[in-house]
């Protein structure tokens, strides 16, 4: 462990607007325009969904993909807090922020996809225990709250001793500071409850997302339809957690002009290899048990997408993560991580969109311009919020020589 400097989460002080950020804002506004059309004129006015294809990319990418790619939140929490590996604490907060924003957009994504968005609260009142979707809904709702609670210490840390309200409200500064300190104390004593709950809730709903499509039975292409779908979903979510952290760390460092923490990232990459290996073993094993490899001998959208998903998205990055050279090289490590992220995202799209072959179809489903715009807009909004958050709150750890490791507000949750 290199002890030449201590890492401390700090606010990133840079101008918010850059040419890239302006592009993101434009794409986000474009998405919001289509979203407005959906709210005023109904789903049919914007999306290519039909009675034959009731679910499209809003479910496949925004919801299923979003949940999977936010898995870095619970895998790093398990590593940093449950396994208590201090050296990884620097990546826990960025991963937590990604998960918090990711799940927020999952919830928004669900809301715009359901026909009656204003009834989003119904599952809390009307229960159906046999529905996998009900379980996903409840777990995601609770987990979203857990993520906000896990992020609260970052907020208290930012404002303790620095509450500075304007004008008349300044009189409340003292009271507010006392409240924040009490909240901070309470949180640090109880945080382990939420951290463990976050991991349990994640394993539950990550797997149940896989159960969702099991009941579609013969409507789903045999390459993907298997009773072990929940296990495959869980294993792939666990495997994509660290690559997602690597992916966003390298992107954020580049965008914010920070030094890369290759030390931590290489180790995360090395740990990814066995996780991806286990996932691949079950995926291939399942294929041989059900003898679905016969479907790979015909050339069609399903077989091509399956091969892309497995070769490009699992096999190649797995081989890369096993190489020391890759683990040491930022561009190669970034490539391996990006391929894994791509592979899991494609897997979710395959499961929910490509594999879905209804018995009565009048032309295949193709996402509309509106659907794509909304999905792209949400991704851009998420990136913009991430950028704003790391500038407002101490999320990203930077070397801080002036600080002792045991300082009151050193890396914590």
């Amino acid at each position: 462990m290199s002890m030449d400097h201590y890492m401390r989460p700090q606010q990133i002080r840079r101008p918010f607007l850059t040419p890239g950020v302006v592009v993101l804002i434009l794409l986000a506004v474009n998405g919001l325009a289509f979203l407005a059309a959906r709210l005023f004129f109904g789903i049919g006015a914007v999306a290519n969904l039909s009675n034959q294809y009731p679910w499209g990319i809003w479910i496949g990418i925004d919801v299923a993909g979003g949940v999977a790619l936010a898995a870095g939140g619970f895998t790093t929490a398990a590593l940093g807090h449950v396994m208590h590996r201090e050296e990884y604490h620097a990546v826990v907060r960025p991963a937590l922020l990604t998960a918090m924003l990711g799940y927020t957009f999952v919830a928004i994504g669900v809301m715009i996809d359901i026909g009656r968005w204003y009834y989003i609260w119904h599952p809390l009142v009307f229960w159906n225990g046999s529905s996998a979707l009900f379980e996903v809904g409840i777990c995601v709702t609770i987990y979203l709250n857990v993520l906000y609670i896990e992020f609260l210490p970052v907020v208290t840390e930012r404002f303790i001793g620095r509450v500075d309200l304007p004008g008349v409200l300044a009189r409340l500064n003292g009271v507010l500071d006392t409240l924040l300190r009490a909240l901070d104390r309470g949180l640090s004593q109880t945080m382990f409850i939420f951290i463990i709950a976050g991991v349990v809730l994640s394993t539950l709903h990550q797997s149940s997302l896989g159960t969702l499509m099991v009941i579609a039975g013969p409507k789903m292409h045999p390459l993907w339809q298997t009773p072990i779908l929940p296990l495959l979903f869980l294993l792939s979510a666990i495997a994509v957690g660290f690559p997602m952290v690597i992916f966003e760390s390298i992107l954020a460092s580049r965008s914010l002009g920070l030094k890369l923490e290759m030390n931590i990232l290489s180790k995360l990459g090395a740990m990814t290899a066995p996780l991806l290996g286990i996932y691949l073993a079950f995926k291939i094993g399942d294929m041989f048990v059900r003898e679905t490899f016969v479907y790979l001998t015909v050339l069609n959208a399903a077989s091509v997408m399956f091969m892309v998903e497995v070769l490009l998205g699992v096999v190649i990055p797995l081989r890369m993560f096993l190489s020391r050279e890759v683990l040491r090289s930022p561009p190669l490590l970034f490539t391996a991580a990006s391929l894994t992220v791509f592979g899991v995202l494609i897997n979710r799209v395959n499961n929910f969109v490509v594999a879905y072959t209804p018995p009565y179809s009048f032309g295949a489903y193709r996402p509309s311009l509106g659907e794509i715009s909304v999905t792209v807009g949400f991704v851009c909004l998420l990136v913009l919020l991430y950028r704003a958050c790391v500038m407002i709150f101490p999320v990203i750890s930077l070397p801080d020589k002036a600080l002792s490791p045991r300082s009151r507000y050193t890396v914590r949750g």
């Binding site: 109904g42 463990i196 159960t211 009941i215 018995p359």
Partner: protein, 296 residues
Amino acid sequence: MAELNRRNFLKGALVVGAGTLAAPVEAGPKNVLSPDRMGVLVDTTVCIGCRRCEWACKTAHDLPTPPVETYEDSSVFAKMRRPDVDALTVVNRYDNPKEPGVPSSVKVQCMHCDHPACVSVCIVGAFSKEESGSVLWDTDKCIGCRYCMVACPFQVPAFEYRKAFQPKIMKCDFCFKRRGAGGLPACVETCPEEALTYGRREDLVRVARDRVKRAPQRYVDHVFGEYEVGGTSWMYLAGRDFYELKFPKLGKNPAPGISESIQHGIFAYFVPPVALYGLLGVLMWISKNHQEGGDE
């Protein structure tokens, strides 16, 4: 009762077991698989494709209904149609290569499964199987997630995509209210050919088997819906392979079977999640002590 049924059938009546029409109001939990649950037997060898059932259905459900004469237009058969938000039942016609000029007409609507996938998957429990056989949808609960449409093995529920406010899931309700008031399903009542037979499901299975036995040259030996996905309230007879008539290929297991066992396995009395929570807690405690003891 059984005698009466047989006699009814011999007369070719369209109602089997009329005595059970007005089911007594019962207290206690619903017995959705009660032997008295009702069904319809559709004999596609009798159906002439007049589409009066489509007209009667729309009228009975207050849907925009074109004048009855327009239903004589047979050009609609050029394309296969599916039930939709403005048509809860449709009739399709399939030419018979072996007997040109004698096409088969097939009425399509919700099958009212005995073990409905929609009831199993609905996130808010907006679907219910009723004792009378109907599978119903509750507008007060539905959030419009369309998981029912993904799950339905017959691809029946339709969604009002064009509505921004209170879009509905639309599907045949097996005339739940009409039947509750002692009436017949609108389509059964209107069918001029008596291609639709309404009665206790049990009796209908017997009737169907009997017809196949009496006229084996007329029917294929398969009552569609008797066993498919665990059995359906609506069942079909046909003169040719059902798959030529675009019926889905389905096994005998109820659609919700596998996913419900997975679901109940993961959540068996909350033991697995609670056990995982405990395990992680112990792991966290051990690694914390280990770290603090070892490092400093």
